[in-house]
């Protein structure tokens, strides 16, 4: 124990800890407590109602509808994003096999990587507003293109059959670039001589990807899976800005349901917190499930 250690520990730890306890820990704890009350907004009255909110939730058609959409996002977005991300990362890192060295990226790899990453640095609000205009039935880029080649021009976000899928596509669009870079970084950590050996054995591209690259990248894919699963349970900003859950709740998600319940026309804080608690346990179990489902032996290069 050296003299003068504790003054530093206290000055360095107490302010962040206080800030964190006040603005992060206490709200989370309160949320669990509020979820068991019938608190209606700005009045001081909040009676404990036990688990009544959760019971209402079980029979709330809107909540189930929103959960169904989150489940769809969860089923489609990670698979598509990781698939495209792996595909492009492979192309960029080992698409061009030339010379004796065996593995190299295609020409212009740096430019592609830079461009693909663009959506990642933009705020989700900008992405949402931009794509809302792209999907615009009259002046949008998409329908402008379709009309130019003589195809019918749907209303996209205005049609309950397509609105949800349009937003889902934007979600994939916004995320793929990040995973291309992430997988690319992981791929460049794989020793080159493994590929040279595989190449000498005459393995095809597809076999190389399936039997060598993906197993070696498994840790990273697993992390990607968890992040995308958590993102799929959210989707709030895109949905709120692009469709606001509509038309006719066809693109509603659980985050928007909660936001509307708390800060919409009626401020049912107790009920909203109950939705938040459900969302929390969903996120937690999805993360745990993703971890378990994706578990494999860890590979380390020595």
């Amino acid at each position: 124990m050296r003299h003068g250690k504790y003054p530093l520990i206290l000055t360095f730890l107490v302010p962040p800890l206080l800030l964190y306890l006040v603005f992060v820990v206490s709200p989370y704890l309160q949320a669990f407590q509020i979820s068991t009350t019938d608190w209606l907004g700005y009045s001081a009255e909040a009676d404990p109602v036990g688990l009544a909110n959760f019971e209402t939730l079980l029979h709330d058609g809107r909540v189930w509808n929103a959960l169904k959409n989150n489940a769809l996002l969860l089923a489609v977005v990670p698979v598509l994003t990781i698939g495209l991300g792996l595909f492009f990362a492979t192309m960029l890192n080992m698409g061009g096999r030339k010379g004796r060295a065996g593995v190299a990226g295609v020409r212009g790899t740096a430019v592609y990587r830079m461009v693909y990453f663009f959506p990642q640095v933009l705020s989700v609000v900008i992405i949402a507003l931009l794509w809302k205009e792209v999907y615009h039935p009259n002046s949008g880029l998409l329908n402008g293109t379709l009309r130019a080649v003589g195809l019918p021009a749907p209303t996209w976000l205005g049609d309950p059959r397509t609105a949800f899928w349009c937003v889902l596509a934007v979600m994939v669009w916004a995320n793929v670039g990040f995973y291309v870079v992430l997988f690319g970084a992981a791929m460049s950590a794989i020793p080159r001589d493994i590929y040279e050996a595989v190449l000498l054995d005459g393995a095809s591209r597809w076999t190389t990807l399936r039997r060598v690259t993906i197993p070696l990248l498994w840790d990273t894919v697993q992390v990607a899976w968890i992040y995308l699963a958590i993102a799929a349970l959210d989707g709030f900003i895109l949905i709120q800005q692009m469709t606001n859950g509509g038309p006719n709740f066809s693109s509603d998600v659980i985050g928007l349901r909660m936001y509307e319940t708390a800060f919409g026309s009626e401020s049912k804080f107790g009920y909203a917190s109950a939705i938040g608690v459900v969302l929390f346990f969903l996120t937690l179990s999805v993360a745990v499930l993703a971890l378990r489902a994706a578990r494999r032996d860890r590979i380390e290069y020595s």
């Binding site: 050296r2 250690k5 003054p7 520990i9 000055t11 360095f12 730890l13 302010p15 962040p16 800890l17 800030l19 006040v22 603005f23 992060v24 820990v25 206490s26 709200p27 989370y28 309160q30 495209l84 492009f88 192309m91 698409g95 096999r97 295609v106 212009g108 830079m114 461009v115 693909y116 663009f118 640095v121 933009l122 705020s123 989700v124 609000v125 900008i126 931009l130 809302k132 205009e133 792209v134 002046s139 949008g140 880029l141 402008g144 130019a148 669009w173 992430l182 970084a185 990273t220 992390v223 992040y227 958590i230 959210d234 709030f236 800005q241 936001y259 804080f269 917190s273 938040g276 937690l284």
Partner: protein
């Protein structure tokens, strides 16, 4: 492949066999390169086109935007930009965002580095508990905290203030910052610190003069990560900065612009506003892309 089989069956010397095998590979590469380049280009276009369209449309008149989404502007109408900057107050919101993020980023980095340093380098009672308390915050969705947070901030008299936003941004950035920097401080060699202490350097001076400069690469990565997530923050200001629109941050200003565009049909103003919000971030990204990419992916790879 047929060439290869024939040569193999003829049983020629090993040297002869290498030549046709190489040729076979090259042929495969040629076809695959066209294929891969096609897909890479397609995704590149898909990423760039909406952004380019937004940029070009920001110079068009409303009439031009409505009549032909693909057309070029008849003139460079910078008055769209001026209108977005002054009438929609994008300029002011930009400044507001800059003020808030400058404050919150400084606070995040100071507190995050201090706490992480203590966790990584000092033994004391309750260290594990405090560390996991911080890091556990990464698991929780912000949504769960939203309702109670609103009241915590309001009761502290910080509702609708920049100070409130600065504190809340910093508090919610701490889990990842502490997690990342603790790991980073642990990788730094201990010998330097020990030598400094023996030479009579105090604990505080040791941190500011020796350890912090050594941790620069890690600090830069996590600062970039925090800058982007705080700059693009939307849900927190949406809830905590309602009302007084002169204090709004950029994301709020853009959604307000989109709403008023919906009423007035000022498409060019919206595109100009989005472009103004996008360009600086894209320019900074292009200039520092290596750091930005590694800053954003480093945390996920850990």
């Amino acid at each position: 492949m047929t060439i290869l089989d024939r040569t193999a069956s003829e049983g020629t010397a090993a040297d002869d066999r290498r030549v046709p095998r190489k040729r076979g590979l090259r042929r495969e590469t040629g076809a695959a390169n066209v294929f891969s380049h096609g897909f890479l280009l397609l995704w590149g276009l898909l990423t760039v086109l909406p952004l380019l369209w937004m940029f070009v449309s920001s110079f068009k008149s409303d009439g031009e935007i409505l009549s032909d989404p693909w057309g070029l502007p008849g003139a460079l109408r910078f008055d769209n930009w001026a209108r977005a900057w002054t009438e929609a107050h994008i300029g002011r919101y930009f400044l507001n965002s800059a003020i808030v993020v400058a404050g919150s980023l400084t606070l995040t980095m100071l507190m995050g580095a201090a706490a992480a340093y203590v966790f990584a380098r000092y033994e004391f009672r309750g260290r594990q508990v405090a560390y996991y308390l911080f890091v556990g915050g990464m698991m929780f969705p912000v949504f769960l905290a939203l309702v109670p947070l609103f009241f915590v901030v309001r009761n502290a008299g910080l509702f609708g203030t920049w100070t409130g936003l600065v504190l809340v941004y910093a508090a919610y950035s701490l889990p990842f910052t502490v997690f990342f920097l603790t790991a980073f401080f642990r990788t730094l060699p201990t010998a330097v610190a020990e030598a400094a202490l023996i030479d009579g350097c105090g604990h505080f001076r040791l941190f500011f003069r020796v350890m912090l400069p050594m941790a620069r690469p890690g600090m830069i990565s996590v600062a970039i990560f925090n800058f982007l997530s705080q700059w693009n923050q939307f849900i927190l200001p949406q809830v905590l900065m309602q009302g007084d629109d002169s204090k709004w941050v950029l994301a709020q200003g853009l959604t307000a612009l989109a709403v008023s565009q919906g009423y007035q049909g000022d498409y060019s103003g919206l595109f100009a506003g989005l472009t103004i919000a996008t360009l600086p971030v894209l320019v900074v990204y292009v200039l520092f892309q290596r750091q930005v990419q590694s800053g954003l992916t480093a945390g996920q790879l850990k």
